[in-house]
């Protein structure tokens, strides 16, 4: 139905959609996790926060799991190379995520204060660590990652965990973390009232501003100080994927090429700024739903900017640029991409439909009275 080249581009878009879906959906309950110990001052207030996402965090987390599965199916080399290379970063993400299912489900099952406070911090870790690490990972992708392939396509990562934590990557971590916290705060404004609402509003504006400032700073940094990568030969889009069949060079300013090549590409970072600014304004004038849409758009813009700047690169290699992974040579076979294309266009709309239904059923403010009246059945 589609030729191979088109499918490769479609899958680049799909993975982008899944990442944005993850940020918008799982992002808001992770943001709630980060804000939990600060916005909720008493046990009841914290239970209000937890119950705003109580019925949904599980479904939302599947965006993360599906992201992993889709990258496995569509870009097996990226799945293999990135997750084994970023080994300890991945372990940190997994271990932090362990706190979430048990934190949500077990926290309010016992009355002990120590028990509940411990799980609150568990939920804080589970909501805070993953977004920071994802940001740091993107920061490293933009700079290139030290890995290479052998002749039989076995990847070896030659860096350390600590070198992932370089200044630019940490800045990317700040962007990611701040945008997720602001997004979570916007969600809390939709679902709460009173003190919690007011504290969330303050957090939404502070972290929304921080995300935009950090994003602007990273933009300036990339324009002036981060070299990009350029393919100089091979790597024909329609060819069978073989990442060793090309030459790549490092070139200052290369991450800006796509913006001069395609005028529309400039829209993507603009969406990040406009969405983020609108989110702050709408929080200020107490329009939480619009603020939530604003922060969603902003995340689309931020994630999209990283993707568009690097296209067609997915994971450039700093130590052996020819081993870099691109949209053209990291992919599955034509058949698998096509099969997964159909699976996605059938099931993703269904997922969006029943998720929306679930949110509609559970709509409305979660109040302190609700917690008191449902002491034994609420989280």
């Amino acid at each position: 139905m589609f030729d191979y080249e088109t499918l490769k581009v479609i899958w680049w878009l799909f993975v982008g959609v899944l990442l944005v879906g993850f940020a918008v959906m799982d992002g808001h309950d992770m943001g709630v996790g980060t804000l939990l110990p600060f916005v909720g001052k008493t046990d009841e207030e914290r239970r209000v926060l937890i119950n705003t996402v109580g019925a949904h965090w599980e479904g939302n987390q599947v965006w993360f799991v599906l992201g992993g599965g889709a990258i496995f199916a569509a870009w097996p080399l990226v799945y293999a190379t990135a997750f084994s290379g970023f080994y300890w970063a991945m372990m940190a993400v997994l271990w932090a995520l362990f706190f979430r299912p048990v934190g949500f489900d077990y926290r309010s099952k016992l009355a002990s204060k120590t028990w509940r406070t411990s799980w609150d911090w568990g939920l804080f870790i589970g909501g805070t660590v993953p977004p920071i690490i994802f940001g740091v990972a993107f920061g490293n992708l933009l700079q290139g990652v030290p890995f290479h392939f052998s002749d039989d396509l076995r990847s070896t990562y030659t860096g350390t965990f600590w070198q992932l934590l370089n200044p630019f990557a940490l800045l990317a971590g700040v962007i990611s973390s701040a945008m997720i916290i602001a997004h979570g705060a916007n969600f809390l404004m939709i679902r709460t009232e009173g003190d919690i609402y007011r504290r969330s509003r303050t957090a939404a504006m502070i972290f929304g501003s921080l995300a935009l400032l950090a994003f602007a700073a990273a933009g300036v940094w990339v324009m002036n100080g981060i070299a990009g990568y350029v393919i100089t030969s091979g790597n024909i889009p329609g060819d069978l994927p073989n990442p060793l069949d090309k030459t790549v060079v490092v070139q200052a300013g290369a991450w800006m090429h796509n913006y001069s090549l395609y005028a529309w590409a400039k829209l993507i970072p603009m969406i990040a700024f406009i969405g983020g600014a609108l989110a702050i304004v709408f929080a200020l004038i107490n329009k939480p739903l619009l603020a939530f849409i604003g922060s969603s758009l902003s995340m689309l813009g931020i994630i999209g900017t990283a993707g568009v700047s690097m296209f067609p690169f997915l994971m450039p290699s700093s130590t052996n640029p020819n081993s870099s992974l691109t949209v053209w040579d990291s992919v599955s076979s034509h058949m698998t991409l096509e099969l997964m294309f159909f699976a996605t266009i059938i099931f993703l709309p269904l997922i969006v439909m029943y998720t929306s239904w679930a949110y509609k059923i559970m709509a409305g403010k979660v109040t302190l009275d609700f917690i008191k009246n449902n002491d034994h059945s609420a989280y």
């Binding site: 599947v62 799991v65 599965g69 293999a80 299912p101 099952k109 076979s333 058949m335």
Partner: protein
């Protein structure tokens, strides 16, 4: 070359995280189904006690589910972090069912589980039942896709090796989905999950009956569990047997190991009930044999032969020697992809490529393999017999015990004597851990029995691991064990606490210990 220590560490980590995960999966599979039965009864009869049953057993299910999700996240990423070469080599086929599992099943299950717990006051009775059904459908479909992936590891159909991309590629998706191996595993695994949930409900209900508390609630739960458990236990045994005789060489090797069958016997072969296995001399010192049974189970005929370990190994020797030629031709072909002579040479031996790769454990250049190396590779092709032989027998013994338990429980239920026989109640109570033990043993037989392969006949385990250091993997094993064990203790504590509280934990005012308040 990947060090043997790294491969062992990676295998150990995978076994630990998979076995932990599988402590929680079977109960989830079965409980969702039992909750559907209980809630349907509620919707039909309109008796609140059935609603209380759904809520109470649902509470225990939720405590279990949380850890199922926790340990499940690891599984989705474990292939990338620790089995990177595997992920590259077979991701084209193996990744698809995993991604479809997320799209079709896990999303469904996880979205509706939220409404299951929190939607009681917001949904009509029928709509809530529909939510519960969709949750159960999601968890069972999830098992289907995972076992499609796992079935392919054991019987890699519908795919072909490509020398340009240096990996296996999908050629027929429907072959992968309708892989008889996958279908047999699916039915066997979900039935085992149903038995687990039935044993869980039966055992805890029996405890209430022994204590003489919440009798109405416990009796009704007991009857549902007895009927559901009996049907499921029959299905596990009948369909467990199915996975014994399905096609494929992986199964033949596994079956030979399960039966400690060192030599091909004239058909129909006898079944070794127990045996004193001598791995060193590759024979059984003695065995108690039941004539004909093995041949009938294994081939469903009286005339077909089942190959023994020695015969399987001799066949594999030829494949290894041919496979070495494929490996050598492939390396040359990768450097000169247009060379027709190399291509022809490679195509000639391509079918045995995986067997040639077995030699990579002993030498980087397989064309230089010595006869000793070839002998070692040949010996590797059949896993250690003793652990598989005994694990299988323990699993079958437990399964038989469970069938007897459910048959008795069902008989007492239909003759209206449920709850009167203390010995039966105690039997049910003490049997609670049994299905978990059987499930873990079953995992071991299936996956250890697949060694030395990750993908049978295609990719050896020792090539599949990521290029990490063994030290790193041991350190992450430490982390996983620490986390999982800590969480398991917390989970068991809550599970026991709420099982003891019983339906009074719902605070309806109708149950044991609540009248005093």
């Amino acid at each position: 070359m990947i060090s043997a220590e790294l491969v062992d560490a990676s295998r150990l980590q995978f076994a630990i995280v998979a076995l932990y995960h599988f402590l929680f999966v079977p109960l989830t599979l079965g409980m969702t189904f039992m909750l559907v039965i209980m809630e349907s009864t509620y919707v039909i009869t309109n008796k609140p006690i059935y609603k209380d049953m759904v809520k109470f057993w649902g509470k225990l299910f939720g405590i279990n589910f949380a850890l199922g999700v926790t340990t499940g996240i690891t599984m989705e990423f474990q292939f990338g972090t620790n089995w990177a070469y595997y992920s590259h080599y077979v991701g084209d086929i193996f990744g698809a069912p995993l991604a479809i599992e997320g799209l079709m099943a896990f999303f469904l299950e996880s979205t509706f589980i939220g409404l299951f717990f929190f939607g009681w006051d917001k949904l009509s009775k029928n709509k809530h039942l529909m939510v519960t059904m969709l949750m159960a459908l999601g968890s069972n479909l999830s098992a289907l896709w995972i076992l499609v992936a796992n079935g392919w590891m054991n019987n890699p159909v519908g795919s072909e090796f490509s020398f340009i991309t240096m990996r296996m590629e999908m050629v027929d998706f429907w072959d992968v989905v309708f892989n008889p191996q996958a279908q047999a595993k699916f039915v066997h695994t979900i039935s085992a999950g149903y038995v687990t949930a039935a044993t869980f409900v039966l055992g805890i209900s029996s405890w209430y009956l022994l204590k003489g508390r919440d009798v109405e609630f416990a009796k009704r739960s007991f009857r549902i569990a007895a009927a559901f458990g009996f049907a499921s236990a029959m299905s596990v045994i009948v369909l467990g047997d199915e996975s014994g005789y399905t096609v494929g060489e992986a199964q033949q090797t596994k079956m030979a190991a399960i039966e400690a069958m060192w030599h091909t016997e004239p058909a129909p072969a006898s079944f070794n009930l127990i045996a004193d296995i001598n791995e060193k001399e590759q024979k059984n010192n003695w065995a108690i044999e039941i004539p004909y049974v093995m041949g009938i189970i294994g081939t469903r005929s009286l005339t077909k032969e089942i190959p023994g370990i020695h015969e399987i190994k001799e066949k594999n020797r030829v494949k290894i020697i041919n496979g070495a030629k494929a490996v050598t031709a492939l390396a040359a072909l990768r450097k000169d992809t247009k060379n027709e002579a190399l291509k022809a040479e490679f195509e000639k031996y391509k079918a045995d490529l995986g067997y040639g790769l077995l030699l990579k454990k002993y030498t980087e250049d397989v064309s230089l393999a010595t006869p000793e190396m070839i002998q070692k590779a040949v010996d590797d092709t059949v896993p250690h017999v003793t652990p598989i032989f005994w694990s299988f027998r323990a699993m079958v013994a437990i399964g038989t015990g469970l069938l007897a338990l459910f048959a008795t429980a069902l008989y007492m239920s239909v003759t209206n004597r449920c709850g009167k026989q203390k010995w039966l109640l105690r039997w049910a109570l003490w049997f609670i851990p049994m299905p978990w033990i059987a499930a873990e043993l079953g995992w071991f037989v299936a996956e250890y029995g697949r060694q030395p392969w990750t993908i049978f006949g295609v990719l050896p385990t020792h090539l599949s691991a990521s290029t990490l250091t063994a030290g790193n993997v041991y350190a992450s094993i430490g982390g996983f064990v620490l986390f999982y064990t800590g969480l398991l203790i917390v989970e068991m504590y809550l599970m026991v606490k709420f099982a003891r509280l019983g339906p009074s934990s719902l605070h309806t005012g109708r149950y044991h210990g609540e009248a005093q308040h």
